[in-house]
Symmetry: D2
Subunit: 382 residues, 4 copies
Amino acid sequence: MGQRVRWGMVGGGQGAFIGAVHRAAAALDGLYDLQCAALSSDPGRARESALGLGLTDRGYSGWREMLDRERSLPPERRVEAVSIVTPNHTHHEIARAFIDAGFHVLIDKPMTTTVEQACDLAAAAERAGVVAAVTYNYSGYPMVRQAAEMVRAGAVGAVRRVYVEHHQGWLATKLEAAGQKQATWRTDPSCAGAGAIGDIGTHAEHLLRFVTGLEIEAVCADVNTFVPGRRVDDDAAALLRLTGGARAALTISQVCVGEQNNLNIRIHGELGSIEWRQESPDFLEFRRLDGLRQTLTRGMPSLGVAAAAATRLPTGHPEGFIEAFANIYKDVAFAVLACRTGARHDMHRSTFPTALDGLRGVRFVERVQAAARSGVWTAWND
Amino acid sequence: MGQRVRWGMVGGGQGAFIGAVHRAAAALDGLYDLQCAALSSDPGRARESALGLGLTDRGYSGWREMLDRERSLPPERRVEAVSIVTPNHTHHEIARAFIDAGFHVLIDKPMTTTVEQACDLAAAAERAGVVAAVTYNYSGYPMVRQAAEMVRAGAVGAVRRVYVEHHQGWLATKLEAAGQKQATWRTDPSCAGAGAIGDIGTHAEHLLRFVTGLEIEAVCADVNTFVPGRRVDDDAAALLRLTGGARAALTISQVCVGEQNNLNIRIHGELGSIEWRQESPDFLEFRRLDGLRQTLTRGMPSLGVAAAAATRLPTGHPEGFIEAFANIYKDVAFAVLACRTGARHDMHRSTFPTALDGLRGVRFVERVQAAARSGVWTAWND
Amino acid sequence: MGQRVRWGMVGGGQGAFIGAVHRAAAALDGLYDLQCAALSSDPGRARESALGLGLTDRGYSGWREMLDRERSLPPERRVEAVSIVTPNHTHHEIARAFIDAGFHVLIDKPMTTTVEQACDLAAAAERAGVVAAVTYNYSGYPMVRQAAEMVRAGAVGAVRRVYVEHHQGWLATKLEAAGQKQATWRTDPSCAGAGAIGDIGTHAEHLLRFVTGLEIEAVCADVNTFVPGRRVDDDAAALLRLTGGARAALTISQVCVGEQNNLNIRIHGELGSIEWRQESPDFLEFRRLDGLRQTLTRGMPSLGVAAAAATRLPTGHPEGFIEAFANIYKDVAFAVLACRTGARHDMHRSTFPTALDGLRGVRFVERVQAAARSGVWTAWND
Amino acid sequence: MGQRVRWGMVGGGQGAFIGAVHRAAAALDGLYDLQCAALSSDPGRARESALGLGLTDRGYSGWREMLDRERSLPPERRVEAVSIVTPNHTHHEIARAFIDAGFHVLIDKPMTTTVEQACDLAAAAERAGVVAAVTYNYSGYPMVRQAAEMVRAGAVGAVRRVYVEHHQGWLATKLEAAGQKQATWRTDPSCAGAGAIGDIGTHAEHLLRFVTGLEIEAVCADVNTFVPGRRVDDDAAALLRLTGGARAALTISQVCVGEQNNLNIRIHGELGSIEWRQESPDFLEFRRLDGLRQTLTRGMPSLGVAAAAATRLPTGHPEGFIEAFANIYKDVAFAVLACRTGARHDMHRSTFPTALDGLRGVRFVERVQAAARSGVWTAWND
């Protein structure tokens, strides 16, 4: 009680969007103590950002310096866990180094830019026995966890048909040409690896797997770049065959003018259906074969243990994106604290997304691209 | 002023769903006078149904009798237009006979069960110069017409990405095994031709073409039968390449437990997007690149002429399915009355769906089935 | 079977809104045969309007002529029922004359402009034994009937708190000064009697009584005219004490910019609550003390007999304002046809709103005005 | 940069709802450092709760001990600001003591249980020149601030008609009889002062004033206790006359089964209207006289400075109750830090709710009670 994870951060300096979200998520429950950081690849900016966060002595000018110095501190003083929120193409090198040195890591998605790197990281984490979380933050929403629990409990029966969408509109114009920071690195193939498929396609794929518990067996896909001159994809649609005979249609796009962050999933089974929409995250529509159309809301006493454990406020008091993100951080904190006694973390029994999920996400990107190139159904395992 | 179409009906007797809808649609504006009918393939039921409608002397026991008798009446007394609302597999023979005899026809969708029949009907109608309408009733909704007009006027710019869905749940169980009338003929391959693809896939395809004005160039598809023992498809998903480089994802299903009649379309262009949902048909969401998120409602003074002409009530006074259906009937009535002077109807300039649209719908069914069988992208014109 | 009411109409000529709605409502089910009309107080307009409806020989130039001539026809040829859709201040004289002559009447709301007239009409109808319906059309919505049936069956337990709103925005500016026809007579005290309280306040009051089954015991009210120079009220709010200890807040306004026809009711009882909104009329929200939040939809098999009898289409096929209006007409038709055998109509057991409801509506207007003037709680029966 | 408020807390120990919310709100932006607390009126529970929060040496057993000890620390070590989240009836004594000792305070609402206490606190805060914030947290929502800014800027023109509702259902049964902690003190007249009027009526009243900028001139009200045996009110409805001739209807209830935390406001002016709903807090409906119906969303570039300053995440990434609460805390932090130089805080120019708002809230409770007792319109200033 009252224990806090000694925590560090790589990336996420001034002007970065997701770094601030990670810090807010970590702050919410008081389970993390930010003790050091290498907030930028630019040493001056790194130091200035650190001061802004009140890190006077352990604000490092780069991740290598941070690794060296922290490693040299006595175990009870060095940070235990490090969040890596740099551009995608650098995740592998940084995460591998921290994992090998025995630090727990939280890596933003997509975990890496190649399947080889992803396999390597998953293996390294397994070998080291450390926590290697991947922040598929949408799986932190209580009602997403409720949906997953209900599907497992048979509330919709055998799954037949799934629809998953992640539609955004912010890249409908060539924002990268205007120097917008988020757009620039996310549409640079050397930094981002893929475009929309990597950035949001992996969220959709993880949500699909997390809620249904099914795996992808084959993919048929259409991948597009609608904005002239863009160097990565900005739109894709895929038909999926899932384990157990279920079918899914998964569509993602970043050129849907007017869409903000419309991630949603609808699962239709033999006995019922469940629908969840990220932009109204506190609600779940549950409909049954007998005609019942029910709205479940976060905080209801009738919900399952997974949702209850991820809930902070009573019904009618909206929780949002940061709270969901914080649920991932909270679960990771408990896993990290449990390792203080020397225990190894078992990724296969994790309640939060790990490097195994990260690997599947990167594989998904690669399979969709292969299917789109070939124009035929493409097996997950070739 | 005050003129009414002399009108007859084939099919649609007691217990039929869609026949009663056609009659309500025709009654709404007082433009049709139902004078004769052959309401069932069962002579006794036909007669009894006719009496129930107040047709004492021209309630025929079959469509052939109706054709013969009406043909023998003097031109100003015989019916001018005949609605054909029998099971799909009989459309071709009946419609062909009435067309060849110079009657105008209104045919329920899908127009026929084979492409050959569809071509034949379209050619016959063209030859005869009669009105040959196909009741793609959803295109009668004022806000669907508004959407089409806005797309034509450039409100969303060049179309990039379209999503069309038609999801129902009423066939999630093997209703046909229980003898439910609607389910029985719609899942009988010999009556219906195809399953969900024909029944609602053609609605989705027509809506897509009607609103965007684009044609389908290639199809990639996944067609499924989820209910064990069912003899037709009950679910499909298709990726489409449209003229002008646009892409569409079209999904249909009749096994989505909890869905009622969820037909919807979202059109994303370079400059904006439009969304319409059949279950809230009086509204259109219009979103622009500059951030404006606007809800257009039927009856607003700012709407275009197409929507205005299809509107009966002020904003806030809901119109529904029958009113939309009635708009098709109203447009057909004007076309039929215009032919009284001897003019031929030009299908290519029609404001309502015609046999040309009916043909495209049947072709769509055939192309989706072919694409699903082959597992590869299939051109519209092979 | 196949019987139709011989029907006539007073008012509702060209340019009138509600007359066309009455005709569409009567046409929908084929239960009315419009045989005569006096469509305008202007004889030329009356005749021209009649021709437009195909009434060549019984298009009268005024209601007195219509009454005289129809009365002189043999019983089996004259009309049986007459709809009165003239401005409010003329309802009493016309309705009284037709009732006394033994015709059934359908009167638009508010039934009259004074309580004395309303009492007189109700007494006359009772004496004559004819049907005297008042078209509180919103009570024709299937889900409103479902709500009423559920409240009667105890689904929400004893009613505690009710909220009723009828908010419109079309009179937010001085439309009457621009000569808009609807606005002109509705804001003329000599025609309309009251302003918003009469026009829509009576709808709200009837909906409250129809759904809850409770009567108003006392009123406290605030009545306003917001548009400068307007001669009637355009806004009101009232607190109500209902039988059984329940409380209601009833607000109406015609100056709510952006509101279209937002009539809604929420009934909160000891065990549950029900919410209905006219602009999405096919749905009912039902929430229970145990946390269940259920959406009931028109057409569901689980609904009660009242909703089922008022339903034409399956779930997911929207019904609207005209269909609801048509349900009143349908019920009246059955009552009128039942009187052909000479039976008297019993207003106290009617399934549709009658002159008794019309009387309560007019009394409501008068009580709200009295309460607003006095500034204190005002008993229903003083 | 990097400065944090030295912060303490009175109340909010284990099992308290609102205390945890205050801590999460304070944590979110890293602007507060919780250094001491007196978390319970029970000394053992206070100490245990403090340990749970990691407060090992400054976890006090009561607020008097906390005040004495902190006062004795050197200025740069003692806390600067104290949050008071105890039951309502204790607010005055505690807040007065801390204010008089020069501490800044954040007081939960309602600020006190009598108007006299409220006046006294406001005067004390003014005298001391300290920050005395009252956590009307709903005014921290970005879209509430946007609404207020739009109304000030004339987006809806002169305000005519306002509807404010705060409907909950959690007290629909006699929860206090079951020993539920929240219910017990909130329905105890000696602790809570009033029932629903104090608990949520003050939120509704503040929202009304905050958004419209208008003051209440007169009240007419109906106050009820629906649950048998309850010792405080649990429902109320009020008609309000506002400055400038506007009218409001304000309804609150805690017995609306199925309602969760339905606080909402609709402002109708001469030129447009604005609607905001707490359960979908990121959206604002804006409708104009010319027919435009627009949805504004948090994070849009087109919003004003007030909303932008209160926004953490881009559009489509939901923010909720804690983020809104945190906005109050953030504004207070800036005010507290600004006082470090010795400046006095000017409550009259505050961006967050102060003791002046707290006073109006308590006055509102008293006026509503008086109006309900008398049954007549009651002036704000008698």
